[in-house]
Amino acid sequence: MTPPHSTAVDDCLIEARQLCVSFRGRNVLDHIDMQVQRGEIVTLIGLNGAGKSTLVRALLGLITPASGSVVRRPGLRIGYSPQHLHLDATLPLTVAGFLNLGARTSQARLHALLAEVGVEDVLESQIAGISGGEFHRVLLARALLRKPDLLVLDEPLAGVDVAGQSELYRLIADIRDRYACGVLMVSHDLHVVMAATDRVICINHHVCCTGHPESVTQSPEFVALFGRHVAEGLAVYTHRHDHQHDVAGAPVPLEEEPLEEENG
């Protein structure tokens, strides 16, 4: 299975090497190795509390790793869209004012940028008054304002309905082509992810499995993590898996009967 953008294999934007992060003595990230290439959409998946957002924050330099390192291409420009952005209602802020905080730019460019993400009408609106879907696009616009080499989007689909989700994914893929940037996304919506991603990294404190969406959904680790029903819904068939996870997420040898191979 060849990813569509395999030509850019040597253009690594950001890389985690043996990255470990711990909170109060608990290992949240355990020797993570991963990288994002230019022109590639990489999605981090995993259960709640698996360390997806922690990995993103470590890559962004917002938290200090316990060991290991994050290597960025020199001069790397990152556009970031956080998972939660709560705006206090006492702060009067227009969309234009919000975007201007990211980078000072002309009104014309802001307008063009909003048109690019499909919400050109909201430029002068109060940010508290726009809908959730519009807000995600405005966040995307702010990330794009910096002409990023790497877009980092933490749960860009939270609170967006299914129709809006695939539209937003198409938009992200368009942006990747237009800006020739790499995209690192966090998502727990597996269905949409699988359709619109070049590479999936499945995190459960360690890198559980990684690869093209189709091959990942067939991998035993994925099945062990998400369960057979989810995997069968996404993939053509499933393999046996060789380990499972304890409550803390550490891989342990398989105890139960191996899964049968199934054709679906």
């Binding site: 206090d88 006492t90 702060l91 919400v119 909201v122």
Partner: protein
């Protein structure tokens, strides 16, 4: 017109001008209790100034700044919830202040003056400190405005975009300390927070951008000081409380005003379903 009244007017306006933008950020960042905690340390600051043999107002400023830095350092440890930490700081400094002041028998303190302010007793030296600190605060706010707004919207996004978050936060708490310390002279430790937040809260109703809200907060603050002072002169009533009552009247009046700007947006081109 008497000198003391002009000094009072100038001092009050100085505080109101600095309190406008600082007050907006205190409201946006929900730091009202932080300001109140600093105000509680006034008496300890007076004692500190007396012990060091420096100007008592400078003593208050110094202690507020010290506490602000201490607070930022303690908060980083995440040992206690912020409001608990502030509660400890506020009341320990108030109690310690009362004890130390009682202990220093040679220091005679007009307790009511510190509780409710004594704007008519503003000296030339006070005025220099007030106007000087007000100007420094305004300059600092202008310098940090964008960064401060950015971290108020989202600290992580600001950090990724290159804003030195800790430095900006520290700069801001120092400016809060400055405004609280000089405002103490005008309306006292019990009322200073109202002079900082009521004009900002009043301005919210009429503003559609952060900058306009800050300018309007300055306008309402200055009007409250001027009207309150003249009213106090006219009816021979206490100045500090009258200034706050005037600010509250403005607040009440603007609540009748229709909401500013396009607060709600009807999506025209994009539908969500």
């Amino acid at each position: 017109m008497d000198d003391f009244f002009l000094r009072a007017l100038a001092g009050g306006i100085g505080v109101a001008v600095a309190a406008g933008p600082v007050g907006c950020f205190i409201v946006w960042r929900r730091m009202v209790y932080f300001g109140a905690a600093l105000a509680h340390s006034a008496l300890l600051g007076v004692a500190l100034g007396f012990l060091l043999g420096i100007d008592l107002t400078v003593g208050i400023v110094a202690l507020c700044v010290l506490l602000a830095v201490l607070f930022v350092l303690l908060e980083r440890q995440h040992l206690l919830p912020t409001d608990t930490l502030l509660g400890v700081l506020a009341h320990v400094t108030l109690a310690a202040g009362l004890v130390v002041v009682a202990f220093l028998t040679t220091l005679r303190v007009d307790l009511m003056g510190y509780l409710f302010g004594d704007i008519l007793a503003v000296t030339d030296r006070d005025l220099v400190i007030i106007v000087g600190l007000a100007l420094i605060t305004l300059a600092g706010m202008a310098l940090l405005w964008r960064s401060l707004l950015s971290i108020t919207v989202n600290e992580e996004l600001a950090a990724v975009e290159g804003v030195p978050v800790t430095g900006v936060r520290l700069g801001f708490v120092l400016m809060v300390a400055g405004v609280v310390a000089i405002g103490m002279k005008i309306v006292g430790m019990l009322l200073i927070l109202s002079l900082i937040i009521i004009p900002a809260a009043t301005a919210r109703r009429l503003a559609s951008t952060p900058e306009r809200m800050a300018v309007l907060a300055v306008v309402f603050g200055v009007l409250s000081v001027v009207i309150g002072l003249y009213a106090s002169l006219h009816w021979d009533l206490p100045s500090g409380p009258l200034i706050v009552v005037t600010a509250a009247l403005f607040f009440g009046l603007t609540q009748l005003w229709p909401k500013a700007g396009p607060a709600t947006h009807a999506p025209a081109g994009v539908t969500e379903s």
